[in-house]
């Protein structure tokens, strides 16, 4: 329970930290890092909830959710980066 | 007519102009013939259907189309005596106006668009007339606004666009007030249909304040279209529209829909006696009287012929409201019958004004010297309409004024006679000089913009015969006021039902 709370709590702090950074930093890359850290925080909460002590098999359902979430996050990041690059190209030409 | 078709008839009457209207939009611009056929087909079909309906109502048949939109919200089209009065008026005048418009718009652009909206406009008017409850009324009332907007804007000139915008601003705001009033009323009463004698009499006393507020909202909403002062500002502005549209606006559709709505609310929602108890009639009477005088005064100062007619409409339509505002069957008859009489007289005047403008380029009263000798038939029709408006017997207008006056006496509101008298003097003041100029002043050397149509008459047939026919109506309605099926007879029928006599 302590470990669950500790790890999950760290996840929540990551979420808030990422949110703050997303709101105050303008550059695309920083926003993306912030979003990924937020996402990492939420995943962290899920992994912590799945954890049931060292001798016990953890809950596989949150693990699967996080796996899915990771792929989704990287897809979105990739698309955002290309859009940003496109914008940069336009700016350079314009 | 078999019984099971009866529920379809009111809906069919609305559709008989709506569907041709929709097809007219699709007609290619240069296909003059098909468009004309569609137009006349719709108009004649509707006339036949209305004839069937009059006969049925006379025999005591009930015609009602009910469509459920949603639970508790019903679209009701119902033919009672009052709706038959208005439906007949608009159907007959639509046929005449269609013929006139076909002639008037010869060679002008965007005819498919014009006639499409023209048909929608009449469908909406008929819907307003047949509406069996407030929801249905509001629906068609708003559709009427939408369908007339393109007609007002039709010419496409900056003034037309501006006039249309003003028209829209007034009518849409009014429509919104009407809507709020209708919704509010609905929360108090639940779903109710129009019933002769009203439906609100039994409401508990603690709701009376709310009912007064609702009446104010409804009246404001209807007053815009009925051009009650101070809500009349759009009417003179929308004079930029082509003459058939002006005729439609003033005599058949828009203004009349407003006045008709006031009749409906006073007689079939609140009930005339209950309205009187609430003190609403006094307010309405004051507003109507003020509008009558104000409109006439404004008409006096106008040089533009159509503008003068427009202010005359402001004044004359309020006779209808005045009739509704006086407690007693005789005044009611006066108001109801004026609904028809004002329509046929005013449409005659507008047709004639259009003829002067089209044939001679005459737009102003000051240019009208001697038009009577150049265009005798038109000017004759114009004279009939104008004298009727003043209230000279035996023309229709006299009948209305007579009943209104009697009604005032019956209600012991003697000031009504004063209002009528003043109005008559003012009517004479702005119409007689026109007649004098037209008949007795010498012809000018040159007309502003003369146009020869190559017919043996003074102008094109399609333009000439409609005003002549409607002028004849004015005379017939006055001369044979006591005949069966005359407007007066119907109005008396309505009044009897309303007062339960």
């Amino acid at each position: 329970m302590t470990a669950q709370f500790l790890y999950g709590g760290a996840g929540l702090i990551l979420f808030v930290l990422g949110l703050w950074s997303f709101l105050v930093h303008a550059p695309l890359l920083r926003k993306l890092i912030a979003l990924n850290i937020m996402g990492g925080g939420v995943f962290h909460v899920l992994i912590a909830v799945a954890y049931r002590g060292d001798g016990v098999t953890p809950d596989p359902v949150p693990h699967a959710l996080v796996l899915t979430g990771i792929v989704v996050a990287v897809s979105a990041t990739a698309l955002a980066l290309v859009l940003g690059a496109r914008l940069q190209d336009e700016q350079r030409q314009g | 007519m078999s019984l099971d078709l009866a529920p379809l008839l009111p809906g069919t009457i609305v559709l008989s102009s709506l569907l041709p209207g929709v097809f007219i939009f699709l007609v290619r611009e240069e296909n003059h013939l098909l468009r004309t056929v569609l137009n006349l087909f719709g108009a004649v079909l509707k006339l036949v259907l209305v004839g069937v309906m009059i006969w049925g109502v006379y025999l005591g048949q009930v015609f009602e189309t009910r469509v459920q939109i949603a639970p508790g919200l019903e679209l009701v089209l119902h033919a009672d005596a009052l709706s038959v009065l208005f439906v007949t008026l608009s159907t007959v005048l639509w046929l005449v106006t269609t013929v006139y418009a076909i002639g008037y718009l010869e060679h002008s652009p965007n005819r498919s668009r014009f006639f499409g909206f023209f048909s929608l406009c009449v469908s909406a008017t008929v819907g307003v007339a047949l509406a069996g409850n407030l929801l249905t009324f509001v629906i068609f009332y708003e559709i009427l606004t939408l369908a007339t907007y393109p007609l007002v804007a039709h010419r496409g000139t900056p003034e037309a666009t501006r006039g249309a915008k003003i028209y829209l601003a007034y009518t849409l705001s009014g429509g919104l007030l009407l809507l709020v009033g209708a919704v509010w009323l609905r929360t108090l009463t639940g779903p109710v249909d129009f019933v002769a004698g009203g439906v609100l009499r039994g409401m508990p006393a603690d709701m009376h304040r709310e009912l007064v507020a609702i009446f104010a909202l409804l009246l404001a909403g209807l007053g815009v279209k009925a051009a009650l002062v101070p809500l009349h500002g759009w009417l003179p502005q929308s004079m930029v529209a082509p003459a058939p549209v002006s005729s439609l606006l003033h005599a058949v559709a828009v203004v009349k829909a407003g006045a008709f709505g006031i009749l409906r609310v006073v007689f079939d929602v609140y009930g005339v006696e209950f309205s009187s108890e609430l003190g609403l009639l006094a307010v309405l009477a004051a507003l109507a009287s003020f509008t009558i005088i104000y409109g006439s005064l404004m008409a006096l100062t106008q040089d533009g012929l159509k503008k003068r007619l427009a202010y005359s409409t402001v004044s004359q339509v309020s006779y209808i409201a005045l009739g509704a505002a006086l407690l007693g069957p005789i005044a009611t008859v006066g108001g109801m019958v004026h609904l028809v009489h004002q329509g046929i007289m005013k449409i005659t005047l507008f047709f004639c004004a259009g003829n002067y403008a089209e044939t001679l380029g005459v737009h102003n009263v000051s240019q009208m010297d001697g038009v009577g000798r150049r265009m005798p038939l038109t000017t004759l029709a114009f004279s009939v309409g104008a004298l009727g408006m003043i209230g000279i017997p035996p023309i229709a207008g006299f009948v209305s004024k007579w009943y209104l006056g009697l009604g005032g006496v019956e209600a012991q509101q003697y000031w009504v006679l004063l209002v009528l008298g003043a109005s008559t003097l003012l009517n004479a003041g702005y119409f007689l000089p026109i007649l004098y100029r037209a008949w007795f002043r010498p012809l000018p050397n040159e007309w502003p913009h003369e146009h020869h149509f190559g017919t043996r008459f003074e102008t094109m047939g399609a333009l000439l015969w409609p005003p002549v026919i409607t002028a004849a109506f004015c005379l017939v309605a006055g001369l044979f006021a006591a005949a069966p099926f005359s407007p007066l007879e119907w109005a008396q029928l309505i009044a009897r039902r309303e007062y339960g006599l």
């Binding site: 890359l29 912030a34 990924n36 990771i70 990739a78 | -």
Partner: protein, 97 residues
């Protein structure tokens, strides 16, 4: 020190490092450095998840989240740096003229 306490201390060190890496990544204004820190954060995160008996997710995070995501961001950071460099160079050119 008892074993649970030791474990707790271990956990706290793990998490403190994680949070520090995240904070550093978030606060770094220089793109390349920020991305490097982010990759480090992701790798550390997968370490933490391995500690929580989530080896599947840890693998995926290391390979996809930190690895590929990091590689993508790194490329973007490099491009941004190049663009900035070119920008300053052009400005320098303009100045020289």
């Amino acid at each position: 020190m008892s074993q649970p306490a030791l474990l707790l201390a271990f956990d706290i060190v793990l998490l403190t490092t994680l949070l520090a890496l995240a904070l550093a990544a978030v606060l770094s204004p220089e793109p390349r450095r920020a991305v490097m820190l982010f990759i480090a954060f992701g790798l550390w995160l997968s370490l933490v998840w391995a500690r929580l008996h989530a080896p599947d997710v840890a693998l995926a995070e290391a390979a996809i989240g930190a690895g590929l995501g990091g590689a993508l961001m790194l490329a973007a950071a490099r491009r941004a740096a190049r663009a900035a460099q070119r920008g300053t160079a052009r400005r320098a050119d303009d100045g020289a003229r």
